[in-house]
Amino acid sequence: MPPVLEVEAVRKSFGGVAAVSDVSLTLEPRRIYGLIGPNGSGKTTLFNCITGIERLDAGRVSFRGERIDGLKPWQIARRGIGRTFQVIRVFPELTALENLLVVTRGPRAEAERRGRELLEFVRLGPLAGEYAGNLSYGQQKLVEFVRMLMTDPTLILLDEPAAGVNRTLLNDLLDAVARLRDAGKTVLLVEHDMKVVMGLCETVFVLDHGEKIAEGSPGAIQADARVIEAYFGR
């Protein structure tokens, strides 16, 4: 079985500044990975490179053994990569349920049933008919999260799921992520909250100035000198 995702020597620069340089990583099925690094270290750019929002300057990205770099974002999403965004990107003038419906194909009644189910699952059932723009920040975050689940992705990319979310909600979310892993999905999450990363992830990648500087178990990463240096400066 090939790895779920292989990123090989990916490079991306903006106006001469390298945002991601020669980063490689491999994700195996049924695992939760963390991607950490100081602000501006290229985490979101790497996400954008994987999901086709940015074109690569060099390198290659393969998903389940098939090259996906160069494909359009929607083609990549349809192959089974779902993501959330650092800044929430729900569709504000669509209702919560409609936000979920738009990403589905196939019979509508079935899609609606599943949509309601997922909204119930994150305790938003009663708000299904509310415009997403009228929901609270945390609720929007949940809508975005279940919207991603509606596409039934194999690989899930989460961009700072914990930011701005209260404790109870966060625990629910982390619970859900663990269950998704158990259900066979692979998760890669960008997170600043170290407690979340250390508690949930099996493998952690560390980026600094666009380069991967470390990879390993949470414990090993915490002890890595280069990581400490990257975070706390020299």
């Binding site: 929002i53 929607w74 999403a77 729900v90 003038e93 669509l94 738009v102 990403v103 596409t151």
Partner: protein, 306 residues
């Protein structure tokens, strides 16, 4: 709400059906014009109201339909109902040709490209005078068909409005709205935004194409300047905006209210009505960008399909 609305609409439809029997020639032509504006505003709404891609040259499809229809009547002797359909087909064809490059442009660039398209069509129609008559315009055989055209235009307005309703209530329509709300997120969720836009664009071209061909037949004479003016584009936009863009009945309300305003109020002030029109545009943009229905929907939590 709908319990009240459906019978009301049926009454209005029935009244409009019998109107040509009692109405004067002017009345029939005016209502026919209202139908035309409903078609134009409703069609613009399909691409711009739903996806947020502002077609600032939508009259191009109207003019293309007018010329295609008129040429088929004048040169090939087609009966006008068939020529009207061909006018719609010609507009859709133009939308395919222009949609592939232009729908890849973003925001203001798309708007300006469409504005330019309109100017270019006018230049081309003038240049190929062997076919189109150029600046001489195109004169059609005299035919009094204003009542049949009234009905066909009415059906067209109904079809466009019905189509809007179908689209707005479908997942296709919701996906079009995601393009307006956040195109990038829609892409990342697996929505093929380009082909959605293209689909909406083609649908939005058909109505104006048919309407243009009908107008050409009814008027009996067209010329480049009068079928490609920016003013028609702006009028349809303001109508859609006034009623509520992105809604089903907004363009209908806008077309009715503004057309009646134009006929009744502006006719009294011949020298200042363009000023009034300018003032209305500014007022709509600044004071009610969501339009009448948008305001109502927000305040009374009405469904989008009204």
């Amino acid at each position: 709400m709908t319990r009240l609305l459906v019978p009301l609409m049926l009454v209005v439809l029935a009244a409009l059906t019998v109107y040509p029997i009692v109405g004067s020639g002017y009345g029939v032509r005016s209502v026919q014009q209202v139908f035309m504006w409903i078609t134009l505003a409703g069609s613009w709404n399909l691409i711009s109201g739903l996806t947020g891609y502002v077609s600032f040259g939508h009259v191009a499809f109207f003019g293309a339909g007018a010329y295609a229809g008129a040429l088929l009547v004048a040169s090939a002797g087609w009966p006008w109902p068939l020529a009207a359909l061909a006018g719609g087909a010609a507009a859709v064809l133009l939308a395919v040709v222009i949609g592939y490059p232009c729908l890849r442009l973003k925001g203001p660039y798309f708007a300006i490209a469409m504005l330019g398209l309109n100017e270019v069509l006018r230049a081309l129609v003038s240049y190929f005078e062997g076919i189109t008559g150029g600046g001489n315009g195109l004169s059609l055989p005299t035919l009094d068909a204003s009542v049949p055209i009234y009905y066909v235009m009415g059906v067209l307005a109904l079809v466009v409005t019905g189509l809007s309703w179908l689209i707005v209530t479908s997942r296709f329509g919701l996906r079009l709205m995601t393009i307006r709300e956040d195109e990038l997120a829609a892409e990342a969720m697996g929505i093929d935004t380009f082909h959605h836009k293209l689909g909406a664009f083609l649908l939005s071209a058909a109505g104006p194409g048919v309407a243009g061909a009908l107008m050409a037949r009814d008027q009996g004479y067209i010329e480049p300047i009068s079928v490609f003016p920016l003013a028609i584009t702006v009028t349809m936009i303001v109508m859609a905006l006034f009623g509520g863009k992105g809604t089903v009945f907004g363009p209908v309300i806008g077309a009715v209210v503004l057309f009646v305003a134009q006929e009744i109020v502006w006719a009294r002030y011949p020298y200042v009505h363009p000023l009034l029109f300018g003032a209305i545009i500014v007022a709509v943009v600044l004071l009610m960008p969501r339009g009448v229905l948008g305001l109502l929907q927000q305040r009374y939590r009405m469904p989008r399909t009204i």
